[in-house]
Symmetry: C2
Subunit: 243 residues, 2 copies
DNA sequence: TAAGCTTAACGTATTTTATACGCTAAGTTT
DNA sequence: AAACTTAGCGTATAAAATACGTTAAGCTTA
């Protein structure tokens, strides 16, 4: 029996809660026959794509179905396509086909997405329960999803050096401290706050709001917002903060 | 009738002849019924992949079948997958399937490759004739191959800024002048030769040979080679020349 | 209410890196 | 031997990255 190749889209969805970098995973608590499973299983959100669907459309659909959000930062970053992808027996139960056949080979187009964690209304019902998991805890994923996650994380780190993508993970109004903490966490190192501030304020696409931080036990900081249009207009090839 | 998605691998193969940046294209001179065609048609080398084949393996196979070369710089850079990819009637004749059906949708995993132009023994026979075409002349490609080519070129330019990939396009022994010319052509601007030399000689992965240029009508230059192992060992995340 | 704590916010000195440009050397061609 | 061409070394200046000092503004607590 010859099986056709199937194309799926998987998304590494990043979020930031102010302290940790997180990713949105699907947790399988209950096996298909209704019995509880002993081992906890996570997988990246994803789906097979239909013949008529554009890849980017499919990725956006996965994101919308899960979070309810649209027009979100979402970029393709790699394709995974080993034919022996499904090697472990237990992984087979994750795989469905419209024909009901098990799938021996899947080509996965991997996307990474940056979303503001509080805007997402994640789906808590159903068999696949969505959950924000911090990077350190996100190990032991199904299939080759660990590889995909690591590749996505590496892409995010690299991207951050050359394009101001950090703002996508923050609320519309944010302080420079929040931005710096985010950079520090993604890059895994401390940054000098005075130099960070200098570099960041040199660009013109950060607009100071007429507003300050509230309910903090110290001097409240100025709030800023990211002017995406202004950034895109001045964008030549690369622009961002290099640390 | 429901058609299954098909996955193909297309390669943007770059070469450098000392003066121009070129890409390896397949030229179709004769139509399928044997009559000459009026319009010249080019396409990128590529192939459909079988169910059992790894994507990278498939790309390497395309490269080897065409040039006879193995272990060549070859990197995946983007996936193209609009369902309406085949829109023009004339493009249909390029598409085959093992079943003989026309293909309505193809997902293409695009690779770019850097090869030393003189090492390739390209296949000059057969219906699809391979030809090195300079970038400026490479217009009017079949399907969405123009998009793929442009994306590949953009990837190469960006990559060059951060990793020393230029050497892949040069012979094993090369002069700094050759290297500079290559950089100038890919980046489309003149570089100061004294500063270029300073920056390039600071790295440790360029080894001076005990040999000089020959048969030139001026002072012969020192020959260098690229020590790939040394580069990869010292490689942290990015290293290269930024101009 | 004053002292102490925390983070915001501004500034300066130093080092490193990038850029601009002058000049001599070693070959070939005429 | 003079003219020509590219190789190859150096220095002076500008720009960017880094290190670090200091005051300000609000909150908490004694």
């Amino acid at each position: 029996m010859k099986l056709n190749p199937h194309i799926s889209v998987d998304c590494v969805i990043f979020g930031f809660d102010g302290e940790k970098l997180k990713i949105l995973l699907l947790k399988r608590n209950i096996s298909e026959d209704g019995n509880p499973v002993s081992s906890v299983d996570y997988k990246l959100p994803g789906n097979f794509i239909s013949d008529e669907e554009d890849l980017n459309t499919a990725a956006n659909r996965v994101l919308k179905d899960l979070t309810g959000l649209e027009n979100i930062y979402l970029k393709q970053f790699k394709v995974f396509g080993k034919p022996d992808r499904v090697s472990k027996e237990k992984d087979l139960k994750w795989l469905h086909d419209t024909t009901g056949l098990p799938i021996r080979r899947v080509v996965t187009v991997a996307y990474y997405s940056l979303i503001e964690i509080n805007r997402s209304k994640i789906e808590l019902t159903g068999n696949n329960k969505a959950e924000w998991v911090s990077i350190e805890e996100a190990r032991e994923l199904a299939f080759d999803h660990n590889d995909i996650l690591n590749a996505g994380l590496s892409t995010l780190r690299t991207k951050l050096q050359f394009e101001p993508v950090g703002m996508e993970l923050l609320p519309e109004k944010f302080t420079l401290r929040q931005l710096q903490t985010l950079y520090e966490i993604i890059l895994s190192r401390k940054l000098d706050n005075r130099n960070f501030r200098k570099k960041v304020l040199k660009v013109n696409y950060l607009t100071a709001m007429n507003e300050k931080e509230k309910d903090v036990a110290h001097k409240p900081a100025q709030l800023y917002s990211f002017n995406k249009e202004l950034y895109l207009n001045n964008f030549i090839q690369f622009e961002g903060f290099q640390f």
